[in-house]
Amino acid sequence: MTTPPADLPTEATAALAAPLPEAELSAAELPTAGLPEAGPRRSHGRGRAVLRRLFRSKLSGAGVLVLAVVVVAVTVGPFVWTVDPNEQDLLARSANPSAEHPLGTDSLGRDVLSRVLHGGRASLSIALVAVAVSTTIGGSIGLVAGFVRGVTDSILMRLMDVLLALPSLLLALLVSATLGPSVRNTVIAVVLPSIPADARMVRSVVLSVRERDFVLAARASGVRPWRIMVRHVLANCLGTVLVMASVSLGFVLLIVAGLGFLGLGVPPPDAEWGAMLSDASTYIVSRPVVVLAPGLAIFLTALAANLTGDALRDALDPRA
């Protein structure tokens, strides 16, 4: 069957959202013993199995690893490399890499390595907070809309449609330009366009879960609706939310960097990867390495986040 993909980011978790079909065995006519069972509650060995599957593919393993390295680097890095990212070494402006400045300095004589580390802190923490906030808000909207249905559902989803009517970065640009550049406003600008996708995805999972037998059974036996929602529906959404969050981390990181690049993100002089690229782009001719460093950092981190999301989806999907 060829059904159109409902939404771009939905693809990431469509596999999880769909009810698990019976294992296709007719093709091989193999004995059916020893196949994984697709049930609502997982056995104890499941966590370990997921972890093992997460590292099954070299590509996925590399993604998880790189993401971990980046997180550790920007968290611990500034304590190890203690150079002040805003200190201007006026004697060594636009300097080439040296022992003192391993990645050289920018046009104002600031240490590029230190700025990359601190910039990563800013970019990553903004992205992480934004993902957490949008997943929480969007997820709650989706959960309520999908569980309550009816008018509430319609109103919430039409609201989401309006937010979806604009490409995410464009909406972020508008919001950021309106509110003015600051860390808090950057988070708001990034969260707003991320909410509808999260809401839609969680809603689709909820809609499919609520029709599953164990929810029907719980309803039939008089379990309170909010209890069903928390115990059964929410529990079954967690996998989706996890995948969703890791995929959107990469996406959000790119928006944060894009805002910074266009001068509408974290205001100077604070370091942020996108903003650094924007500064550096003016002297790409003379100092390509300054452009290369923050860009590569954004690229690798986003790539790692996407690979991790993919790996997580595969690992959580018992069919893979």
């Binding site: 007719s26 091989a28 006519e29 193999l30 004995p31 013993a33 020893g34």
Partner: protein, 333 residues
């Protein structure tokens, strides 16, 4: 034909073995199967799901895909070994000299092309000179009403029985020597089943096309096949003229199968208990031994070979028991 065939069979399968590489080790799905199909013959293959009958059917067209692997044996079609053919030759054989009818006609036909287009494509692939005219003729041949209209329709606009008729028309398109029908009626209603079987029998009789009919139900096969092969756990456990196997089953498994299907004039015996053994790896002795009520000690250690039953030509069974037809269950002599 290079390499004259050692027998006069049209299709000659020898020692066919197929394994599947899986997470739980290697499954021996087909274990040394040999049989012949003569030109114009209608042979039935019967067995439970997982017995290797469908894989065998697919192997006849060289259609075993990874993780399946043919590890041993030959399949000769008019003397040419299907298993050693290069891709190009194999392609020219498939659909031209040997064609296949699949179980589910809904998913086996492409939903986005018209019936006519799919029939024509199959003929074009083998250089048929006038596929358009032939397509119409084919639909008439499989008794589809309003064939000209049907040619322009899409599979979803046809009923299940009609779709299977289209599949059969497709199989007939290039006038093959053999048609392999893998559970062609399983997905259909009972009344439609009979019509499709009837159609297959007529094609076999009128056009002298050999047919290999695969089914999980002895009942389906018994009405149409001249000869029947009973598969169990990747082996043939009994083979012979249909009437003979049906009237005087020699293998305990065949007898149990017959018992499972209640028929008029035949009292149902106890249904078969248990399930087929795992074939990863296969058991040392007779694979049916654990479920067999007439088990001997040697059954667990030695796997019996197919042997002629009671001196009846063409009737063979793989069982250590010397079963005589008089001991047939459920029937009082």
């Amino acid at each position: 034909m290079p390499g004259a065939p050692p027998s006069d069979a049209l299709l000659e399968v020898r020692d066919l073995s197929i394994t599947f590489e899986g997470r739980h080790g290697r499954t021996h799905a087909v274990r040394g199967v040999s049989f012949d199909v003569a030109a114009g013959e209608l042979v039935g293959i019967v067995g439970e799901s997982g017995c290797g009958k469908s894989v065998t059917a697919r192997a006849l067209l060289g259609l075993v895909d990874a993780p399946g692997q043919i590890t041993d044996g030959t399949i000769r079609l008019d003397g040419d070994d299907v298993l050693t053919m290069d891709a190009r030759t194999l392609r020219s054989v498939r659909g031209r000299r040997i064609a296949m009818v699949f179980q589910d006609p809904m998913t086996s036909l492409n939903p986005v092309f018209t019936v006519g287009r799919q029939l024509i494509d199959v003929m074009r692939a083998h250089g048929h000179p006038s596929p358009e005219a032939r397509a119409l003729e084919l639909l008439e041949q499989v008794e589809i009403p309003a064939p000209a209209l049907r040619l322009r329709q899409y599979p979803h606009e046809l009923s299940g029985g009609m779709r299977q008729r289209v599949m059969i028309a497709m199989a007939l398109a290039n006038e093959p020597e053999v048609i392999v029908a893998d559970e062609p009626t399983t997905a259909l209603d009972v009344t439609i089943q009979a019509q499709i079987l009837d159609l297959l029998r007529r094609i076999n009789r009128d056009q002298q096309t050999a047919i290999v009919l695969i089914s999980h139900s002895l009942d389906v096969v018994v009405d149409v096949a001249e000869r029947v092969l009973v598969f169990y756990a990747g082996r043939i456990v009994e083979s012979g003229p249909t009437s003979r196997v049906f009237e005087a089953p020699a293998h305990p498994y065949t007898r149990a199968l017959l018992g499972v299907v209640p028929r008029p004039g035949r009292a149902a015996v106890e249904p078969l208990a248990g399930s087929p053994p795992s074939l990863a790896p296969p058991p040392a002795g007779c694979a049916f031994a654990p479920r067999c009520r007439a088990r001997l000690d040697r059954c667990v250690e030695d796997d019996p070979a197919l042997d002629v039953v009671d001196g009846t030509p063409g009737h063979a069974a793989a069982c250590w028991l010397d079963v005589s037809p008089r001991h047939e269950p459920g029937r009082t002599a």
